[in-house]
């Protein structure tokens, strides 16, 4: 076929439907951005729900948010920001063609992602132990002032991560709404982190086995775009859930 620009040798492969490498790379980036538009709307609906209920039940949301551990959230923010920087470096090295450095950066990202999930599991576990998981086990404001909540997850935190436990105030029903939104949004974000882990791992494996699928920097850039988006969501989730002003 005329117009089939199959690159020979070490150059990146151009798939048969494309004319040249520029068209191919552009298409992939545009496709990824189109998908990210979808993701924006996906989380957008949740942010709308959050805004509405926060506006309607501001006081209870403030009181309920005091049960969240802002230190752990902050640590997670730092972890994700760092991973985002690492991904930026991975794309940088991929563009420069430095495979080893790229793999190291991707590895760091992967570790950050797992770190994020571990910290998250401590948070979720502590919420479960405090009976703040918003299903039938939910019990809000049911404890006395002196009643110490036994929490395996809290006890196993390092000392600097502890925060003073506050008394549970506010309407238990609206607080349950708060935790429903909290668990849905952070849970979906966590799901995106898991998908990101799968994507990064596959990318690394494909690079290591020198798969013909990875011939240039574009796959790394696409994974990078996705991971930056995951970071982006957390940038908004952190102040909206952990640092609600009175």
């Amino acid at each position: 076929m005329s117009g089939h620009a199959h690159a020979q040798g070490d150059g990146p492969e151009v798939y048969f439907q494309y004319e040249d490498i520029d068209q191919q790379q552009e298409s992939y980036v545009v496709g990824m951005w189109a998908f990210l538009m979808t993701e924006v709307m996906f989380f957008g609906a949740l942010f709308l729900i959050y805004t509405l209920y926060r506006w309607k039940f501001h006081d209870t949301f403030f009181l309920a948010h005091e049960q969240l551990n802002w230190k752990m959230g902050g640590l997670n923010t730092a972890v994700l920001l760092f991973s985002s920087v690492m991904v930026a470096f991975a794309v940088h090295f991929a563009q420069k063609g430095k495979k080893t450095a790229q793999l190291i950066c991707l590895g760091m990202t992967l570790m950050c992602a797992f770190g994020f999930l571990v910290i998250k599991s401590f948070e979720y576990g502590a919420k479960g132990d405090h009976k703040l998981y918003p299903n039938y086990t939910f019990e809000y404001g049911a404890h006395d002032k002196d009643h110490k909540v036994e929490s395996w997850w809290d006890d196993n935190l390092p000392a600097f991560m502890h925060i003073e436990k506050k008394e549970q105030h506010g309407d238990p029903k609206n607080a349950k709404l708060f935790y429903s939104i909290y668990f849905t949004m952070t849970g979906l974000h966590g799901l995106h982190v898991v998908i990101g882990i799968i994507a990064i791992t596959s990318l690394m494996v494909l690079i290591i086995i020198k798969s013909p699928l990875i011939t240039d920097y574009v796959p790394t850039e696409l994974v990078g775009l996705y991971w930056h988006f995951v970071d982006l969501v957390w940038i908004f989730l952190y102040p909206l859930f952990y640092l609600i002003p009175r």
Partner: protein, 135 residues
């Protein structure tokens, strides 16, 4: 067979059109961590008259978040260096997000319903449909 958008791209071959330099990556990273510190700092260290002003505190937190988001989108995600098409899609997605907030207009305007007359008569609880007062 390349589309006409193709003309925007000058360089050919496998080389990317723009590589974010390492110094820039560090700079942005610095900005992001500073933003994070600012968020936490603002939440705890703003002095009292402002601290209990929900609107101010929330706007501040969101402003910092938007600043961080802009750094990520603009530089790390490469929108600044992308083609016009990428810019349209990136901005379009974030702008369209706000159409969802038309829904808030419903909730904020519900108290404006035209339901007059409740104040004029102190009690509507008295039986009105009595035999003595048919009309």
């Amino acid at each position: 067979m390349a589309g006409h958008d193709h003309s925007e791209l000058t360089k050919g071959g496998a080389h990317p059109h723009h590589v974010l330099p390492q110094g820039m990556i560090f700079l942005i990273a610095g900005g992001l961590f500073a933003g994070m510190a600012a968020t936490i700092g603002a939440a705890f260290m703003i002095p009292e008259p402002l601290h209990s002003n929900t609107f101010f505190m929330q706007s501040l937190a969101l402003a910092i978040a938007i600043f961080k988001a802009c750094l990520v989108v603009y530089f790390y995600m490469g929108v600044k260096f992308g083609t016009r098409l990428v810019k349209i899609f990136a901005y379009g997605g974030f702008i369209w997000f706000f159409t969802l907030f038309i829904m808030m207009a419903d909730y904020t305007s519900r108290p404006m319903e035209p339901v007059p007359g409740w104040e004029t008569v102190p009690s509507s609880a008295l039986p009105r449909n009595t035999v003595e007062d048919p009309e």
